[in-house]
Amino acid sequence: MAIIEIDGNHYEAPEGQSLLSVCLSFGLNLPYFCWHPAMGSVGACRQCAIIQYHNAEDKKGRLVMACMTPVADAMRISIDDNQARRFRRENIELLMINHPHDCPVCEEGGECHLQDMTVMSGHTVRRYRGQKRTHANQYLGPFINHEMNRCIACYRCVRFYDDYAGGKDLQVFGMHNNVYFGRFDEGALENEFSGNLVEVCPTGVFTDRTFSARYARKWDLQTAPSICIHCGLGCNTAPGERYGQLRRIVNRYNGDVNGYFLCDRGRFGYDFVNSSERIRKPLLDNRTEITQQAAEQHFRTLFQTAKGVIGIGSPRASLEANFALRALVGEENFFPGFNDTEQTLLSTIFTLLRNGGIHTPSLREVEQADAVLILGEDVTHSAPRLALSLRQSARNAAFELARRMKILPWQDAAVRELKTQTQSPVFIASARATRLDDIATNIFHGSPEDIARLGFVIAHCLDNQAPAPESMSDAEKALATTIAAELKQAKCPLVVSGTSCSSLAVIQAAYNIAKALPSKDKQLTFAVPECNSLGLAIMRGGRLQQAFERINEGLADSVIILENDLYRRAPSQKVDLFLNSAAHVVVIDSLENETAKHAELLLPAATFAESEGTLVNNEVRAQRYFPVYAATEPVHGSWQWLTGAMENPEWHHHDGLTAACADAFPDLAAIEQVAPGADYRFKGSKIPRQPDRYSGRTAMFANINVREPPPPQDLETPFSFSMEGVTAQVPPALLPVIRAPGWNSNQAINQFEEGVEGHLRGGDAGIRLIEASGTLPWFNDIPPAFKAEQGQWRIVLLPHIFGSEELSLHSPPIAERQPGHYALLNPLDAQALGAKNGDQMEISDSTEAPVITLPVQIEKTLPRGLLGLTGVLPKNLQMNNSDHVTLKKVAEETENHPEIYL
């Protein structure tokens, strides 16, 4: 630690840090543009100018850029010095020369870093009298607006998009004062993290297109801390509502999980909440709308008359909702609602995470890995935000080289300019090309068996105790040796796997490798499909097939299905049989789906935005989300429908339910501490969801009724639906809106962290439930090598960020970006079938019955004998990884769209 003097005050700061970042974490107001906590310094905007004095006597000092100046002991600087202030004021004046001053119509207004910095720097009078330079804008797809005239050329967009996220289609063109940030031609931004441009851009060039369509100022949005429900990583979000409509999602900082960035699925997938397909009224027999009372009555009666009730829970519903269902139907009648294969995989994963003795990293820890092996995942599509972290981990070798050359890690350009090739090893084994291939040292393409086999060989190379396949090809061996050697050298190697291949062997191989690694700081992580996959794995319960048997065999006659479309979990014939065999089917869900159509009683469930609950992410971190706004009656949180049918009054409140759940499962014991309960008060009030400038509350509904309606009461959480209350002392992890005096944009987060890019003061949101201990024996069930069989193909389902997840697909901008339906074939297979790109291919199941026809796409990275399927499979059509199918090219005249035979 160094002692530095800033304007006469002494501070302790880490030596070698950039001065700007330490000034910001001391809460000092120093404006900046080009610097970003996650992206470091480049010194381009010249806004962070301060005076640095030579020594104690020096009166004059010299102007330096704080972001480019490392902290050194006994350093003396001034932010307040007149010369520095004048420079900063005049620098903004220059930035504003061509700015359109269109704040009233700009979506950034009120949370604009440029506004904040302009006010902070004191530039108020415009002296420039010339013309402004103007630019044309581009269409950038359904997510992002482009308004180039607002650009102040801080270069942050391209630094994020290109350098940080690996995008290639957003660049800077031109030079001098005519620099243009855009695409080569109009079209959707290709990178999966494009949405972060909205927050990275300090002004209104890149704004959220989904938000503009129903815009409100930041201070007019009602917000609550939330958790993304669109994959298993649990990124922290801050959704905003107005007039009962969810209007956008922005990032909510979590130093362990998502940091400053979200993926586009998480940011733009929210619109299903506003969908016309929402179930908004209780429905009887898929026809008759009934009242809430009638629905509750019906529900209770069903229990009294039923001859055995089973409950099928859901990995996309909260712990509390699932627990309520489990309590209602009884432990032995509860099924977590996984697809059967997935259940095997997830319970294995949980066992590994719990008893495998290998640390599973947070995303922040992932970024520290210095060698990575990805076994069987296209991470960008299965756990998107993880891919962004893996991309950063590849840079560790460059940081290491920089360290040796005495270049500080935050000197972003200098580190990137070091030998371009310097990169930590990343190895990828997958069915075909992935979105991280550009950072891969070596790539292997194979069937799940072959991926698993490669994994077993690697483990064996690392530790000859680990079982190896009886035979292996020289190529396999050579590759495995290379990978093993790199992993062995690494200080902090990381093995990434997951459920995408539906292969237990792949997961077991991943464990063997991690177990075989010599490093103390080795890590193992798994991508899991849903926001509460691991929570439900902890809860356990029977398999779906067993649930089906209960009903089909008459052991029970009624089923309650919680937020789960069973047609996505099991073959449709089986689900049909099951639902038709049940005498009574109750479905609680938020969106219409195939299963809901079969409900005798359909109960409208609140979404994540209107309800509360606890989720467990892929690193077994429990996190709580809170309703952003009150559900409109008769929509209720699923847990409320379920507890409504119970006797125990303690469980009629969410906190009670959480506590009971924590009691019931030792592994979940800590979930009570994830967030304060409904009794939380500071100075007598709860945490307000509305910013203190929230406007129009008294007038919002005046067109309907001039009497101001009383704000809804929130009896379940520490938050109120109101603007009253003090937020100054609220732990940052619980703050709905991040804002500090003078800092209205999300950049205000600097004021809430323990050191820039650090953890939130008072701790990041969420609690890690378990830390791996013990060790497990080697797995030795090694599958035989995959051999393509004449005339048969094996299905590989290819996940997609904008297609694989159920709810986000109901968000129109996401649906617009979903991939097309294709049958991917190796070029040689295609040749053998006489097919070229675009030809129609009829796919038939093992009984030779045709199931679907899809256009062929030739994919040279896909191994022979595999059939890759992209896009969202039609409802009703269940195809699983590793199903065998046969193929037949369809005669030319067939129409050019997928045809389903079911």
């Binding site: 381009a44 004062n177 270049i407």
Partner: protein
């Protein structure tokens, strides 16, 4: 036969279109290289050049030998597949008023090539690039030929002069933009990127081209090196008149009788250059001032004519020696319009990376245009002075903008009445 007092230009003779390898060898060419490779260790070559007092001729005047000595030499072998260190010749000459490097390359390309080989030897670089501005087609042609000649003579390539030293020299022709002359922008340009400058530290001698230690030197700087090795440090020092060493190409353009370029001792009085070599002002014109070393240097006045043309003396007088090629301002050219022309150049050539330069220079241009077109206001001069202050040394990302401010700053100081004259006209107009 050797013009010992004009080592750089001795082969530039009316009887020669340009010096072939034979011409060059006949006046002592490649002798310095022979000597160095046979007798001197790389570190010793560095030391010779340091001792010679040679300072960079690209404008900044940094000690050449000192620069080389900052290159980390620890991992000496140029192990495959890529060299461990690089030499780059800055042949991007684009500073308005500067026309010296073109001549050296067109007329005596081997002199530069020998300089490059020696530099590469001194820092044990495995490859060198000549970064040549794209418009210099003739120079490109002659360098290309000369490189082939040197190669066939064993001065270049593998085992140079039967030693263990290997070197490849590549000619890279650029695609325009003044900023490419800035050494770190040049490195980006050579890497095929946009030519924004890089932050220093790290300096290129530590982390330059592809992150390797890289020495960047001006053409004229490197042309001196063979002679230093051939004739010795002492000889080189004695060439000069004042504190600096060696000779320098000095030039003058504008309304002088004989615009041109001359190799003269460092430290020669400026008066001698303008009045004797350039023949003084054209008839009917008087000397109003001059930019001593290209567009990015402060104006000096006739009262400064007796200043010695070396780095220290010109700095003392309030300007910079820069490239040593002077632009003469006569009494019938409006200094305000001349400054406008210069600022238009700099605004256009700003790379667009840092705020003050990108947005401040265009504003400077707007203000000057307004003034000249009678729309100026007296407070505009304060704004201009403010812009000069803002874009001062250290405030912008690279030296382009501070350079751009030098002629403006000195014009505001020396020619203020010329600015104000436009305002007076303006006021009268308004009074109408």
């Amino acid at each position: 036969m050797e013009k010992m007092d004009k080592p750089l230009t001795k082969n530039i003779r009316p009887d020669l279109a340009f010096a072939t390898v034979a011409d060059y060898e006949s006046t002592g060419g490649y002798q310095g290289l022979r000597k160095a490779i046979r007798e001197l260790q790389p570190k010793e070559v560095q030391q010779w050049v340091k001792d010679s007092g040679l300072r960079g001729r690209g404008g900044a005047g940094f000690s050449t030998g000192l620069k080389w000595s900052l290159v980390p030499m620890s991992d000496s072998a140029n192990d495959s597949p890529h060299p461990n260190r690089y030499v780059i010749v800055n042949a991007d000459e684009m500073e308005p008023g500067t026309f010296k490097d073109r001549l050296l390359m067109e007329k005596d390309p081997h002199q530069l090539i020998e300089g490059i080989i020696l530099t590469a030897y001194a820092i044990q670089a495995g490859a060198a690039y000549i970064f040549l501005r794209g418009e210099y087609h003739l120079a490109a042609q002659r360098l290309d030929n000369a490189l082939l000649e040197a190669q066939s003579k064993g001065y270049l390539g593998e085992h140079i002069l039967n030693s263990e030293f290997n070197l490849k020299i590549y000619l890279h022709t650029s695609a325009g933009r003044y900023i490419c002359g800035e050494e770190t922008a040049l490195i980006n340009a050579l890497e095929g990127k946009r030519a924004n400058p890089r932050a220093k530290p790290p300096h290129p001698v530590v982390s330059g081209l592809w992150g390797k230690p890289t020495v960047v030197n001006n053409v004229e700087t490197l042309c001196n090196v063979p002679h230093i090795l051939n004739y010795g440090v002492q000889w080189f020092k004695e060439l000069a008149l004042g504190a600096d060493t060696g000779t320098k190409l000095f030039g003058a353009s504008g309304r002088v009788k004989r615009p041109g370029l001359w190799e003269l001792p460092m430290g020669i009085p400026i008066r001698e250059i303008i009045e004797e070599h350039a023949g003084g002002m054209q008839d009917g014109y008087k000397l109003r001032g001059f930019l001593p070393g290209g567009a990015s240097t402060d104006f000096l006045l006739p009262e400064h004519l007796d200043v010695a043309a070396d780095f220290e003396a010109v700095a003392q007088a309030g300007s910079r020696l820069g490239t040593g090629t002077m632009v003469i301002l006569d009494d019938q050219t409006c200094p305000v319009q001349m400054v406008l022309n210069l600022e238009e150049f700099f605004a256009q050539e700003s790379c667009g990376w840092c705020t003050p330069c990108r947005d401040g220079l265009p504003w400077t241009v707007t203000l000057l245009r307004d003034i000249i077109n009678g729309r100026g206001r007296i407070e505009d001069l304060d704004i201009l002075a403010g812009l000069v202050r803002m874009m001062g040394p250290g405030n912008t990302f690279c030296a382009l903008a501070p350079g751009a401010m030098e002629p403006l700053q000195s014009a505001l100081k020396y020619f203020r009445e010329d600015f104000e004259r436009y305002m007076v006209g303006n006021k009268l107009l308004e009074a109408d």
